[in-house]
Symmetry: C2
Subunit: 345 residues, 2 copies
């Protein structure tokens, strides 16, 4: 049985997106149980609304864990950490810590989730800082990228740790036997990278990871590497840049196809092509970032994720548990530590 | 008269892209003269091929400045700086230094061009490091962005200088009266930026620039600011990420529209829509980055730019001269220096 702790009150839409996605999950997967942390009255109402066709046994795999506190999207970190001791986010993380659940999923404030997760779960041995990892679509499939914004100032050692965690993630969640790890750097035509990145390149090439060297921004979408490592500032800018460009381009497509009656007719005729296109780049399919480096699995769904988007985050969390992401990561860290110990002895 | 010094041997395609673009430029603009630095035999042949319909007076505004040395795309910096003293790139820059031309345009190796330009032209008073600036398309028009890769480790002072130079560029080349300057940072939901960026934000808000505060990666394409300032590492990753994503998406569009005879028919029927779309995001229209902060105007065309792409870079260089980019930048620097002197007195 896989048991997930769900922060049912997080995100911009909160429980109205979370509950229907959870209903679908338990309906489809007989071995999944979900603990929904949030306001009992609200959750009951939503479950009644959405769980009409659910079997009795599936219904029993949705458990409400009542709490009336929730971390708001604009709560300062101190409120999340010290003020709201019984927030749905915190209780969900504590359920993972206490072994009641194997993973936590939240759409709440990223900063609060990271801070609380670090406080409640602690980091894995050998990890200085947890990182945010997510998959981006590429020409051939997906690129696992980290850090996406948890750490703005990183040392070469941190980047190596991101490489280890990213490789374990791509192995466990995406099923890639030996993920190719690339280091995000800038073009050969310009002065190559800064000192931290140069040092990280050395550490990565000496490690037991399958390091394929430097990659550039465009490689993220080419699929040159399965895992791309960078500091959280660069990763966040790169992610947001992609979101902005994709949004602009889909706006352009919409504008051009609604310009006049002829183009509208074309759009109608092309609807299957356009919907296939939309599907291929649908950000909801890639929803579900993971906070790695913690003694527990924590998934972060986008704050504005809808039912389908939250469903994808749930699926990713289930996959991570099923494929033992935590064990994979721990073993990878141990291998690296053992190799380092051998090298230095 | 506007006189440009052209490095006719740079880039992947070299003179075969440069010459036809130069022919079109002198044909269209009676006040533009071009000095073409490169191999006389090669340039003469290409001019004869392309200048068939050119008037005698226009033909005279294309002057060949013979040299048989050229900086190769893969030449190390030392070769460009110390080995090839008579390279087309270097002679073109020297023509600007000596007042023979008002701007230089090259498709050559960026690192070599930056190093040579710094050596030959020197930096402007008040500028520690030149930067690479370019315009990116956004929802409403364009965003001027810098630095795109010349400086990987920047101080807050450098970022302020980028703001001043970017603002002067947007004013002179794009004609924006008071450009809104934004500082590239990461989301509010995560730990906000690093120390350098925080300090730069303070310097920018105290300056006489129209500083609109922090912007995120997606704002580049939203047009939240006219000028976006960042260090060269982040800027280069953001630029390359955009290139990669745009390439992937246009590949997807091609694939979906060539899937079967029906979709091919749709593509044919939609050709006007698709070509308008292509036009709106055509990277060639945005070709022509500028090396700012030097005592002379230097434009860098993309190494793989075709005739149309190189033509856009030429146009941008002409616009920069016509609107006195150098004077604008110098005056902006003087204003900032005067304001700082007043503050500290």
């Amino acid at each position: 049985v896989i048991r997930l702790a769900i922060d049912a009150m997080g995100g911009d839409i909160g429980a109205t997106a979370v509950v229907p996605a959870c209903v679908t999950m338990v309906a489809k997967h007989a071995d999944v149980e979900l603990l929904l942390f949030g306001d009992e009255a609200v959750l009951k109402t939503l479950i009644t609304t959405h769980a009409g066709s659910l079997s009795e046994s599936a219904r029993l795999r949705l458990q409400i864990m009542h709490t009336d506190e929730a971390v708001a999207m604009d709560d300062p970190l101190t409120t999340a950490l010290r003020g709201k001791r019984r927030s749905s986010m915190r209780l969900a993380l504590e359920a993972v810590r206490d072994g009641q659940a194997q993973a936590c999923v939240s759409s709440g404030n990223t900063g609060a989730l990271m801070a609380l997760a670090r406080f409640v779960l602690k980091t894995l041995p050998g990890i200085d800082r947890p990182a945010i990892v997510a998959d981006m679509p590429n020409q051939k499939g997906a690129t696992t990228m980290l850090d996406l914004g948890a750490n703005v100032d990183c040392t070469a050692e941190h980047l190596l740790q991101f490489g280890i965690m990213g490789s374990a993630f791509a192995h466990a969640v995406r099923g890639i036997e030996t993920p190719r790890v690339g280091l995000l750097n800038i073009g050969e035509e310009v002065i190559k990278g800064n000192d931290v990145v140069k040092q990280a390149g050395q550490l990565l090439s000496q490690s037991s990871l399958k390091f394929v060297g430097n990659v550039e921004g465009n490689d993220i979408f080419r699929g040159t590497a399965d895992v791309v490592v960078c500091d959280g500032f660069v990763g966040n800018v790169s992610l947001k840049t992609s979101e902005g460009l994709a949004q602009m381009l889909s706006g352009f497509i919409r504008e051009e196809f609604t310009r006049n009656w002829f183009t509208k007719l074309l759009a109608l005729a092309s609807s299957s092509v356009l919907s296939r296109l939309r599907m291929r780049v649908d950000h909801r399919r890639y929803n579900g970032a993971c906070l790695v480096g913690l003694r527990g699995i924590v998934f972060k769904s986008h704050g504005s994720a809808d039912v389908e988007g939250f469903g994808h985050a749930l699926h990713r969390a289930v996959a991570a548990v099923r494929n033992d992401l935590l064990g994979e990561t721990t073993r990878a860290l141990e291998r690296i530590a053992a190799a380092q110990a051998q090298q230095s002895s």
